[in-house]
Symmetry: D3
Subunit: 133 residues, 6 copies
């Protein structure tokens, strides 16, 4: 059940086909997950979103690919985004996340959830030493 | 401005002193940030919280210390916890986070914030292939 | 699966019947969505909630009805309220939201989700010029 | 107090200068708010973020510019992003938001905040009629 | 620094004066906190909001006044609403919350923050026994 | 559908068995809900989490057991944690929450959701009188 209709023949639109082909090529896989198929209802939104995700997640950068997936999961969990949690946990496993690493990730996001509540409650003043300026 | 009073002579309580001493020993530094000083209004809460944070963040585990700080920042940003963002960004820098890594972290948490909104809006069905069972 | 039982014969209670009749009259439709049917477990809560929603969403005001639905969707997406996202997206379509407008809404809420993360991370000082006082 | 240092001579970097010049030209104003000045610590992140915001907020699209600002405020309030709330409320006023419209916006985001809580608590099943598929 | 201007002579408007008088009478105190003074920029919004808060928080009901304040704090902390956290923590203390009760409240909201993260990450299926229907 | 596999023979691990036995003894019931069964994929995480929850929720303290469940629900609703909302609403009912109390809880969390939005939007300055220091 979604708020947009899945377009059956989405690749008939050359802009959609170009994006989906690039996803397949980038990931070296024929499988395309529902997010991109449903986004195809608006080819421009599909293009922009894929370009944004690709440039951050599929291009070598200062952080390694698995670390980036762990961070992505942490945000998605905190935002309670069910689809994102599932897709990025699967992606993290595909990039080498073991059960031990996953348990460690859970420990950190649970601890952060715990202390975030304490600090948002106590409204402790930020130590001046943390100021970069 | 906070919701609890900072206790001036907190270390007169031996339970508080024991925790603060352990923080100093664990971190090899005399500096103790406000979070722990304000938490001292309830020695048991201080003990439990420090034990929890220490066992996750200060003990070797599957994820390295810097990766754990990046994940901590990601959760704290998403929960809009100002104090936590400041303290863990400082901790990440102390553990080696460069400006390039920080910019990369920002890119990932911003991209996750962007696609979390899209998926929470579109309510796309989760692909069966993501199911572990 | 819900946390309250759906009352089968809810309209036997005259307070419930009065609210449901007003919903039908206000919307010029016999259909009543589950939110109101489940709220009927407490007639006073049903009354208060419907009065509050009606006075804001069903009465002419400075913002037009479709703009109000778009804002409602934006909040509901950010709060990850699945039911609210579905019901208000349907309401927005009923009030004239086209696919082009929906894609535009998605673009704005995704961009806001993206920059909210950046600002909550960077903790940039608010420009004095934004102060109204 | 922020987590990045404001670069004093940011426009010495031609990539930074190009973005800031484009902001001035797009907005027909010499004033540049802190967000962009602080983002300049990473010229690529500055470029990407500005391109993303500009393409959504400064280009004619299905929704009018003021409606887009109201939606932006709604997301920023719900994410508790203090800077974003200030900057986009100022932007909305600059684009014509009156006090009456602002009070109406507040009414809608408050009502959404209220019913989001009810639905997230009651976990009411989504009506099949809301399904687009 | 706020997004609305504080009206200096707010009580010159009889609708504003009536609400502020009722706040004073209900609370048996001459002090009126900033929330209501700033809301006075729109008398109708002030009236509606005060009526809503008063009917829930200042009227005897199934839950006692202090319990209601503790719940209010719990929501406000989780939403990262700084003003609300301060005002309702003060209200809870005025209604008898001791330091021991406050520490207990902090323990519960921190534990909930911790397990909420775990469950939002693991997406564990809800046990059928929890279903009321 | 979850992100970890349910271990069929979890109690073959003595650490897991010890925790599940303690849950049964503490609750005086043979039923164990899915959260703990799925957490068993990592015995240490299971132990730590149960110890944390037990020490806060199953031990006499300044707040009574039902009040603690109401606070737990309030946080879980605001974090949009579906599983947590179901399990803690069931726990609250088991500890004596009536329909009248539940409706009252809903009223308070809805009112908090409403005013949190107003304050996060208006950014009203915190009254100095709320400062404990």
């Amino acid at each position: 059940m979604s708020t947009v209709k899945l377009i059956q023949d989405a690749e008939a639109d050359p802009r959609v086909k170009a994006v989906l082909d690039d996803i397949r090529a980038t990931r070296k896989s024929d499988f395309i997950n529902n997010f991109w198929l449903y986004l195809a209802f608006d080819p421009q939104l599909l293009e922009e979103t894929w370009q944004g995700v690709k440039s951050v997640m599929a291009v070598p950068s200062a952080l390694d690919p698995l670390t980036k997936e762990l961070i992505y999961i942490a945000v998605s969990v905190t935002n309670s985004c069910r689809y994102c949690v599932h897709s990025h946990t699967a992606a993290a496993r595909a990039k080498g996340m073991t059960d031990e690493m996953y348990a460690d990730l859970l420990r950190v996001i649970a601890t952060a959830g715990r202390t975030n509540q304490l600090l948002n409650a106590m409204q402790v003043p930020v130590d001046p030493v943390f100021d970069l300026e």
